[in-house]
């Protein structure tokens, strides 16, 4: 009698144990989702969706808008909209020095920036710091020309536009080397 009860109990336990495996199968691609499943959430982007934000500029000039500017115009705009933080000639601060001079080793556009297009891209998206995104493309071309001339990179009087800006050679470019460290025992 006692034996029978034990046997029944054991088999019930075994049964429920085994069926437990059946009721919780391992998730598998058979459930319909594979690593290549495409969900199609969201909505298609229209040209307008993209254009409202697509303001980036690449070193090859891709993304530069129409319009043009000169350092002469840039100097006036700089005095009005930038000098309060960067100084009248771009070195007096209190914010970042924008012009590199021989006497100072401070990193600035003239001695550290590898591409002139970055000056345009950054000013257009982020400056003036207290009113970002308020400059016209013409103003940004002129400010870029002013800063490149002040850094003695641009010949005085050069007009900057979508063709001339990417052609500007920056002295710092030759210093740039790609980080090729991948771990391992070397300290570099």
């Amino acid at each position: 009698m006692m034996n029978a009860i034990i046997k029944i109990t054991v088999s019930v336990v075994l049964l429920s144990w085994a069926s437990g495996f059946r009721s919780f199968p391992k998730p598998s691609p058979a459930s319909g989702i594979g690593s290549d499943t495409i969900f199609n959430f969201g909505r298609p982007a229209t040209q307008a969706d993209i254009q409202r934000w697509d303001i980036d500029v690449r070193p090859d000039g891709k993304g530069l808008p129409g319009g043009s500017g000169t350092a002469r115009k840039g100097k006036t705009i700089f005095a009005q909209k930038c000098a309060a933080c960067h100084g009248l000639t771009g070195v007096e601060g209190p914010s970042d020095k924008l012009v590199s001079t021989d006497s100072s080793q401070v990193k600035a556009i003239g001695n550290y920036w590898p591409y002139a297009t970055t000056v345009f891209d950054y000013i257009r998206r982020a400056m003036p710091f207290n009113q970002p995104g308020t400059l016209t493309d013409e103003e940004v071309y002129s400010l870029t020309a002013f800063l490149l001339e002040a850094n003695q990179i641009l010949k005085p009087g050069t007009e900057l536009n979508a063709q001339t800006l990417p052609a500007v050679q920056m002295p710092a470019l030759k210093k740039y080397i790609l980080d090729d460290r991948t771990g391992g025992p070397i300290i570099r």
């Binding site: 495409i38 550290y112 740039y176």
Partner: protein, 412 residues
């Protein structure tokens, strides 16, 4: 058998009316008012009862928990960043409100109902996604550290781990794999980079290799079990495990696939390392392995005898393989215990129990990651790079134990 009295107590509910309870309290108060002599005694009793939590009912359950008023861990803010109090934390998850912050023109206030992410460029089908859309995709949850690559400070022996390298924190992040979305938009096989752009006043941008997008990049909308915090990119951010923090663009609004990098200001003027030969190293994405002892560390005060040396170690290139401790300023090294589970690209806790004889000495920790990289000394880094700091500067940190129990930063 006669039961011993009290052995089998029968429990019976005792009915006490609310009126009776209140009446009792009121009676006690009456005593107070009526007998000035008894009042002094009564006040003393009340004081004792106030400090004995078993003598007064506690605060009822609430909607949001708070820290004990006796615990005051705080971030250390400057104009541009705010540092995690590493020396005040335990384990490896950073409480979300103590996660470090670094932004380039403030934290934007974004209404998720009005926020969109546009994915375009070298793709077959450009799309617009909202927070609600992102939450429909299969979700992935992962514990990872996030560190700003400009995370080294020195210059005083009175610097805490928070001051030295408080721009690293760890969270459990939840979101969607970027590869899932890349498949949907049909990324052009010729695309090698993508630009990620934020919706803050810096309109932050970084170029990221497409292979990272296919590998382990995520768009995350949750942190430690709740919606990601505004300082961390609400409603969602890019998250690139192991990469320098700046690249995990917060408040993400746009991803553009491209066949060339953009060389934005943040990957040229900033986040690059001048080297001793006059070169400038760029696109340093991986966070190099690093460790720091968070106890004992300034401003802790210690006593001689047993001390559990504790800290965290991490690597952007994979798992922590081991951490070693020196209690003699780097002359000899002993393996520390690691607190499992040891996760990929995650802060890993370490411990080493040691008996201090009370004489002045210096404690150090150094980590080896799974690539075999051994955390360098300060001098090794200075010799290799020619700079005494800058981005990706991850030297061994030493703590001097003074005989009076003070702990000071070595070579501070």
């Amino acid at each position: 058998m006669k039961p011993i009295s009290g052995e089998n107590p029968t429990l019976q509910p005792i009915k006490v009316s609310r009126r009776k309870l209140l009446g009792g309290a009121a009676a006690a108060a009456l005593v107070l008012v009526e007998a000035p002599f008894a009042r002094a005694v009564q006040v003393a009793v009340t004081q004792a009862e106030l400090t004995d939590p078993t003598k007064i009912p506690g605060v009822p359950p609430g909607q949001v928990g708070t820290r004990s008023t006796f615990e005051k861990p705080v971030k250390k803010p400057s104009n541009i960043s705010s540092r995690t109090p590493l020396q005040d934390l335990f384990g490896t998850i950073t409480p979300s409100d103590l996660h470090f912050e670094r932004n380039h023109n403030g934290v934007p206030a974004i209404d998720p109902a009005k926020h969109e992410l546009v994915i375009h460029g070298m793709v077959e089908k450009p799309i617009v996604l909202t927070l609600a859309d992102l939450k429909r995709f299969p979700s992935v949850t992962r514990i990872c550290f996030l560190e700003c690559s400009g995370n080294f400070r020195s210059g005083s022996e009175k610097l805490s781990p928070q001051d030295i390298c408080g721009l690293t924190s760890q969270s459990e992040w939840t979101g969607v794999m970027l590869s899932t979305i890349f498949r949907q938009v049909g990324v052009d096989p010729k695309a090698t980079w993508f630009l990620a752009e934020g919706s803050d006043a810096a309109v932050m941008t970084r170029s990221i290799p497409v292979r990272k997008g296919w590998d382990d990049a995520m768009i995350v909308y949750a942190q430690n079990g709740e919606a990601i915090r505004p300082e961390q990119g609400y409603p969602f951010r890019l998250f690139l495990p192991g990469y320098e923090g700046n690249m995990s663009i917060k408040w993400l609004r746009r991803i553009e696939l491209s066949d060339a990098p953009y060389l934005t200001r943040e990957e040229t003027s900033k986040y690059t390392e001048p080297l001793k030969d006059g070169k400038i190293r760029y696109f340093s994405f991986d966070i190099d392995a690093r460790s720091i002892i968070t106890f004992p560390a300034y401003p802790a005060q210690v006593q001689k005898g047993w001390i559990e040396i504790r800290g965290i170690a991490w690597s952007g290139r994979g798992k922590v393989q081991g951490v070693e401790i020196s209690t003699d300023a780097g002359k000899s090294w002993h393996p520390a215990s690691l607190n499992g589970p040891i996760l990929d690209k995650a802060h890993t806790g370490f411990r080493y129990v040691w008996q201090w004889d009370g004489r002045e000495t210096e404690l150090q920790s150094r980590v080896t990651d799974e690539t075999g990289y051994l955390q360098p000394t300060y001098q090794e880094l200075v010799t290799a790079r020619g700079s005494k700091g800058g981005y990706h500067f991850n030297p061994i940190t030493g703590w001097i134990l003074k005989p009076d129990g003070r702990v000071l930063l070595s070579n501070g």
